[in-house]
Every structure is written in structure tokens, then in C-alpha cells.
């Protein structure tokens, strides 16, 4: 009897501990909400009522809306390109056996192992020589390289779960490989593609450490803009801009959870 009681106490303590860790994990995000609603220009919990003036500030500022559009555009274009390039590569790699499959796959995933700051420095050197530094195309190229590995991994792990016999049947019935890929594989792959798209978009939209080396006054991304602003002053406006960024990401995360499940995507 005492053993059982003991076990119950242990699991209750473990649950309480986990709850506390989870609370502190989310705290730096949660605190932004009340602070951004403060009626006074101090970064504290509101004491004399709330106001939405800081959100108005963010919307009417000359920098934040433009940075938001830039970030959205980069994320959209680089995610679409990565999906096209990466999912076809993942399909070839999982459905064909040839010498070097493992090596090619390792190569395509290798950007994940390199610290973003080092890649940023390397791209600063390359894009400067290519004349693409501080331009949108340069930023997009760099973002594609960052997103492709995630697409290869997420789509690859989804493909393993789809029996190859379905594609063989399609080919036996006379469809060529391109048709088979578009009509059989892609529809079965949709959950994986959706997961890769949302995860890729979030990754690109939130990226800072590499982008800070590649952005210019006309191509500021939102994280870089918020960082530069916060270096000068931390006020409720910056909290409001942060909350808007979180809302965008949260929407993506919810979509991900509803379509394929967060845990599955994050574990691949």
C-alpha cells in the first residue's frame, strides 16, 4: 500500500515539475501580451488600464509593415522553391537504389549541421562578390538552402510510409514516371508536403542569425528589424510587433497540429 502511495506522490511531483518547466518555457512569450497592451510607455504589466496604441504605432510605422511584407515574400518564395526542389529529390532518394544514395542525402541535409551564423558569413562573402548582397534574390537563395534540408527530411520520412507498390501499379498500367509522381505520389504525400511547407515557412519567417549578414536598408526582414529596434529601445511597441510575429507563427503551428501533428514533424 505504501509503495503505491509513494508512486502516486512521485508521479504527482513529476507532473507538477513538468508544469512549472512548461510554464517558464512559455513565459517569455506570454508576458509580451499584457506588456504590449500597457497604456503607459513602460515595459511592465499594465497598472493603469490597457490600450491598443502600440499596435497602431506598429501598423503606422514606416519600418515594421515593410519588413513584414519582405519577410512574408521571402518565406513564401523560398518555401515554394524548396518544396519543388526538395520533394522531388526526396522522392528520387527514397524510391531508387543506386550507389551514393546515402552520400547525396547527407549532402542535401548538411546545411542543418552548419551554424547559421557561419553560413551567413560565407554567404556574405559569396553574395558580395556576386553583387547580390542586400538584395531580395540573394536573401531568397540563402533561405532556400536553409529550408531544403527540412523538406528532404519531412517529405522523405512521409514517403517511407507510402508503399512503393502503388507507384509500380501505376507504371504497369501505363503511366510514365512524371505522371505517376504527379497523380499518385503527390496526392498521397499531401500531409507530408503540408507539414514541410508550414515548417519551412516558419523557419524562413523567423530566421535571424544568417539574414542579419545579408539584409540591407531596403531588404530588412521582420526579425532583423525588431532586433535592431530593440537594440535602441525596448518599449511596448516592440512587444506589440513581437506579439504579431508570434500570432503568425502560432497560426502555422496550429495548422501543423491539425493536419499532421506537431510532435511527428518535429521528431523527423
Amino acid at each position: 500500500m505504501s509503495g503505491r502511495l509513494h508512486r502516486k506522490a512521485t508521479s504527482a511531483a513529476l507532473g507538477a515539475y513538468t508544469g512549472v518547466v512548461a510554464f517558464f518555457s512559455a513565459l517569455p512569450l506570454l508576458v509580451l501580451i499584457p506588456v504590449s497592451l500597457n497604456s503607459k510607455a513602460v515595459v511592465r504589466l499594465p497598472e493603469d488600464g490597457i490600450s491598443f496604441q502600440w499596435y497602431v504605432n506598429v501598423f503606422t510605422s514606416t519600418t515594421f509593415p515593410q519588413a513584414f511584407v519582405t519577410s512574408g515574400l521571402i518565406a513564401l518564395v523560398s518555401t515554394s522553391a524548396s518544396l519543388a526542389i526538395g520533394s522531388v529529390a526526396a522522392w528520387v532518394l527514397t524510391r531508387n537504389r543506386f550507389r551514393g544514395v546515402a552520400a547525396v542525402e547527407a549532402f542535401l541535409i548538411s546545411p542543418l549541421l552548419l551554424a547559421r551564423i557561419i553560413y551567413g558569413v560565407a554567404m556574405l562573402i559569396l553574395l558580395t562578390q556576386a553583387g547580390l548582397i542586400r538584395t531580395l534574390p540573394g536573401l531568397i537563395l540563402a533561405h532556400i538552402v536553409i529550408v531544403v534540408p527540412y523538406v528532404v527530411r519531412i517529405v522523405g520520412s512521409t514517403l517511407i510510409g507510402i508503399p512503393g507498390s502503388l507507384e509500380e501499379a501505376s507504371e504497369v498500367l501505363g503511366a510514365n514516371q512524371a505522371r505517376t509522381f504527379l497523380r499518385v505520389t503527390v496526392p498521397l504525400l499531401l500531409p507530408g508536403l503540408a507539414a514541410a511547407a508550414i515548417f519551412g515557412f516558419i523557419t524562413s519567417f523567423d530566421e535571424f542569425t544568417m539574414s542579419v549578414f545579408l539584409t540591407g536598408p531596403r531588404t530588412m526582414t521582420l526579425p532583423v528589424e525588431i532586433f535592431k529596434y530593440a537594440e535602441l529601445v525596448v518599449n511596448p511597441s516592440v512587444a506589440a510587433a513581437s506579439v504579431m510575429m508570434i500570432l503568425g507563427t502560432l497560426l502555422g503551428a496550429l495548422l501543423l497540429e491539425k493536419t499532421v501533428g506537431l510532435e511527428r514533424v518535429l521528431k523527423t
Binding site: 515595459v43 551554424a115 532556400i144 549578414f213 525588431i226 503551428a253
Partner: protein, 295 residues
């Protein structure tokens, strides 16, 4: 008597080849031009003497400077200190969380999982601002503690080593937790059940069965946390406020403040090699652990 040798291009004759080549070409070309090439340029730059007048001179000057100037050595040591401390702290804090998330049947489990991994889904810049607002001298933590009466005057919580570690662990904990969860989830329930039947106490079951079998997940989580902490810039910059020197801040200043690109490139190469060597050591440890726990 030898069989006719197949020319090296024989593989081109197999039926699948066009798909393989066409399918892989865009990704391979992109990564060769936009990943491999810049890395080669980075290494080349680290041996140059001046990026504005690139001479063909091959010099080790930049490397010599890094290893002889206290400033650069301090920033390298600072990075190692931040990374190892974050790794250990994330392991200790994260293990019970992973254990709970694998074994609990609570209805709040998915909410707890979402909160724990929320740092993964938000920009590190936003995280950093959250901590600045929480821990600042006029910030929320001081406000709450003053109101409740724990303290009489604001305490300084930001701009020290501890603040940087708190920020790093907050961001990197999800990697540790997810990685341990994968390992823990693979341990068959029957093992601990059988041990219990045979009379093992709870602590014996944990120390002799659960912990060793989950060690590979623990190590791969540690590897991830270490690599990511070595490369982090925003957190030490925002929460350390110049009091904590790390190599990423050194690299940033060389590249974007005083435009000494060869020196910045050399620092980047050293950071890369340092991270890579620790990655190799830890993966060797992991291989041994996996070898030990073969069921």
C-alpha cells in the same frame, strides 16, 4: 578470361537514370553553388591578408592572431563555457519533462508539450525581447517581486552569465526533450514490469534499465544543444549585454563592424572545426552507448 569491363558510364544505361539525374540535379546544383562554394570561399578568405586587395598571398596571420590575442581566446572560451553549461542544464531540466511526456496519461499533456516546444516555433529575437521585458531592471519580474514584497528594491537580473544560460536553455530545451522522448518511447514496458516482478525497486529499475536505455537520446539531445549554443548570437548578445563574450559576437563585429573579413572568416572556420570535433567525440560516445544497449 576476365569479364568484359563495364565502362564507368554504364550506369547511364539503366532505365531509371533520367529520373534520378533530373530529380536530383536542381537540389545538388543549388547546394553546390550556394552551400559548398561559399564554404570554400570562407576557408579561402581565412587565409587572405586583405579582402579589399585580395593578393594571392597565402597567410596564416589571421589564425596566429586568434591564438595570440587574449580577446579572441576569451571569446572562444566563453562560447565553450556557455555551450557546455547550457548542454548540462538542458539535460538535467529536460529529462524529467521527457519522462513525464512519454508516460503520463494526463489530459493536459498536449498543452504541456505545446508550451515546452513553443520556443522552437517562435523567433529567437522575440524570445530575447520576452526575457528582456521579464528580467529588466524595471521589468516584470522585479515589478511582481516588489509588489508581492519579496524584495525591497529592484535587483539586477540581466547582463550576466546566468541570464544567458536561462535564455539558451529556454530556447534549446525542446531539442533535448524531443530527443530523449524518442529514446524513452522505444523502451518496451515489459522490461521494467518484469524487473518489478523480480523484485527491483523503483530506483533500481530507473538506474539499471530506463536511464541506460535512454542514454542515446540524451547524448543526441546534448549534441544538438551544444551545436546550437555554439552558434547562437542573439541570446548572448541580448541577455549578456557585453558582459558575456562569445565567439559569435566576435565574428559579427569582425564582419560587420570593422570589416576585417579574413579575421572573421578565420574565427568562423575555427568555430566550425571546434563544433565538428566535439560532434565527432559525442557521436563516438553515442555509438558505444547504442552498442551497449542492444537488446
Amino acid at each position: 578470361m576476365t569479364a568484359p569491363r563495364r565502362p564507368w558510364w554504364a550506369f547511364l544505361r539503366t532505365r531509371r537514370v533520367p529520373t534520378v539525374v533530373i530529380g536530383l540535379a536542381p537540389a545538388v546544383i543549388l547546394l553546390t553553388g550556394m552551400f559548398l562554394l561559399p564554404l570554400i570561399q570562407l576557408v579561402t578568405m581565412s587565409f587572405a591578408d586583405d579582402y579589399r586587395n585580395p593578393t594571392t598571398v597565402f597567410t596564416l596571420e589571421n589564425y596566429v592572431e586568434i591564438f595570440t590575442r587574449a580577446y579572441h581566446l576569451e571569446s572562444l572560451v566563453g562560447s565553450l563555457a556557455v555551450s557546455t553549461t547550457s548542454m548540462a542544464a538542458a539535460a538535467v531540466v529536460g529529462y524529467p519533462v521527457a519522462y513525464y511526456l512519454v508516460h503520463s496519461t494526463s489530459k493536459y499533456k498536449s498543452l504541456i508539450l505545446l508550451a515546452t516546444i513553443s520556443p522552437l516555433l517562435t523567433s529567437i529575437v522575440v524570445r530575447g525581447i520576452g526575457w528582456l521585458i521579464l528580467l529588466g531592471e524595471n521589468g516584470v519580474a522585479n515589478q511582481v517581486m516588489l509588489t508581492v514584497g519579496i524584495i525591497d528594491e529592484p535587483v539586477r537580473l540581466l547582463y550576466n552569465f546566468g541570464a544567458v544560460i536561462v535564455g539558451e536553455v529556454n530556447i534549446l530545451l525542446p531539442f533535448m526533450v524531443l530527443s530523449i522522448m524518442t529514446s524513452l518511447g522505444q523502451i518496451p514496458r515489459s522490461l521494467t514490469d518484469n524487473a518489478a516482478v523480480l523484485g527491483a525497486t523503483a530506483s533500481q529499475r530507473f538506474l539499471r534499465i530506463t536511464l541506460p536505455l535512454s542514454a542515446p537520446g540524451l547524448v543526441s539531445g546534448a549534441v544538438l544543444v551544444f551545436i546550437l549554443a555554439m552558434g547562437s548570437y542573439v541570446t548572448p548578445k541580448m541577455l549578456g549585454g557585453g558582459m558575456v563574450k562569445v565567439v559569435t559576437m566576435d565574428i559579427y563585429s569582425r564582419m560587420l563592424v570593422d570589416f576585417n573579413w579574413p579575421l572573421g572568416a578565420a574565427l568562423a572556420v575555427i568555430t566550425m572545426l571546434l563544433t565538428l570535433s566535439i560532434l565527432l567525440i559525442l557521436s563516438r560516445v553515442q555509438a558505444r552507448l547504442i552498442g551497449n544497449v542492444r537488446l
